[in-house]
């Protein structure tokens, strides 16, 4: 009697349920630790930021993506390369502001929220807020200050999940003192 396990072929890919459930366990723990949803959102964002700061290294090393010349290119790389690499989904990039400094990522499916239902008493919880932190942290490491937030969320009954990203400014590289 041999059991067949459907093993992923790619050595870098792993069981995404492990990730999803682990993330769920984390959010549950945070909800226990903090009184209100705002605090939980803040913690998730902070942890996401820490992850993003490190994840960008992994991403640049593995994807061989060079420097982006404008925000549109950045948007494409995030959606088509990064999301695909790490979550196995490709969000669509839409709703560009006329100035070209704001866009939306539309996620048809959000791997973080498989098997999740929000209880009624957590109306202000942004469940996947970790993603915002990750995006912010990663982009900060490539000299871009951005504002990231969830505009729509399927968990709250919207049809799609929408992440809104706004370019704030380019971070100037500081020359070390006395190094001219």
């Amino acid at each position: 009697m041999s059991r067949q396990s459907n093993r992923p072929t790619d050595s870098k890919k792993m069981n995404s349920e492990l990730f999803t459930l682990t993330y769920g366990a984390l959010v549950t723990q945070l909800c226990k630790d903090y009184e209100n949803d705002e605090e939980v959102n803040k913690q998730l964002d902070k942890m996401g930021y820490n992850i993003g700061v490190r994840l960008i290294e992994d991403f640049l090393a593995r994807s061989s993506v060079g420097r982006c010349h404008d925000f549109r290119e950045t948007a494409d790389v995030i959606a088509k390369v990064a999301f695909k690499m790490y979550l196995g989904i490709t969000p669509s990039v839409t709703n560009w502001s006329p100035a070209g400094d704001e866009f939306s990522l539309i996620l048809e499916s959000n791997p973080l929220v498989d098997f999740v239902e929000l209880p009624d008493n957590h109306n202000n919880l942004v469940y996947s807020n970790l993603l915002c932190g990750v995006l912010r942290g990663a982009l900060e490491m490539v000299q871009m200050a951005v504002d990231v937030r969830f505009a729509q969320d399927t968990l709250r009954g919207d049809n799609v999940t929408e992440i809104r990203m706004k370019f704030i400014k380019r971070i100037e590289e500081n020359m070390p003192a006395g190094d001219e």
Binding site: S5, M14, E17, L18, T22, D33, Q43, N50, L55, G88
Partner: protein, 157 residues
Amino acid sequence: MADEALFQFLHSEIIQYVNSAETGESENGRCVSKLENMGFRVGQGLIERFTKDTPRFKDELDVMKFICKDFWTSVFKKQIDNLRTNHQGIYVLQDNKFRLLTQLSAGKQYLEHAPKFLAFTCGLVRGALSNLGVRSIVTAEVSVMPACKFQVMIQKI
């Protein structure tokens, strides 16, 4: 399919968080048990998904073999290297290259931090076993990273 790097970063971020939240005397024990409890929940959920289509297990040893082979492969992409038992309810699972430690060290450096990095996985195993009807206590020990041993003590009711 989520990427492995993502889980590793999340895992270390969780450890970081739990650590920073706990301050005081019993800090280390509490931190480990918090991580262990999280792992327990995840293990319970995972085993439900993994064993959807598998036939029933014959006995305890069969369950342990499943944990060592299929479960470990699904989660850590390798099998447990060595399974030993005294046939009285104690099993020792040895992983010579445990995935969550490979990034940490290869030797004795940072040995004092190893328990934190194993607590989640201990819970994972305990949760998985618990949903297969086996009550247990799971502990881990490391002498030289990245090798580690998980000891499973089956609780007879």
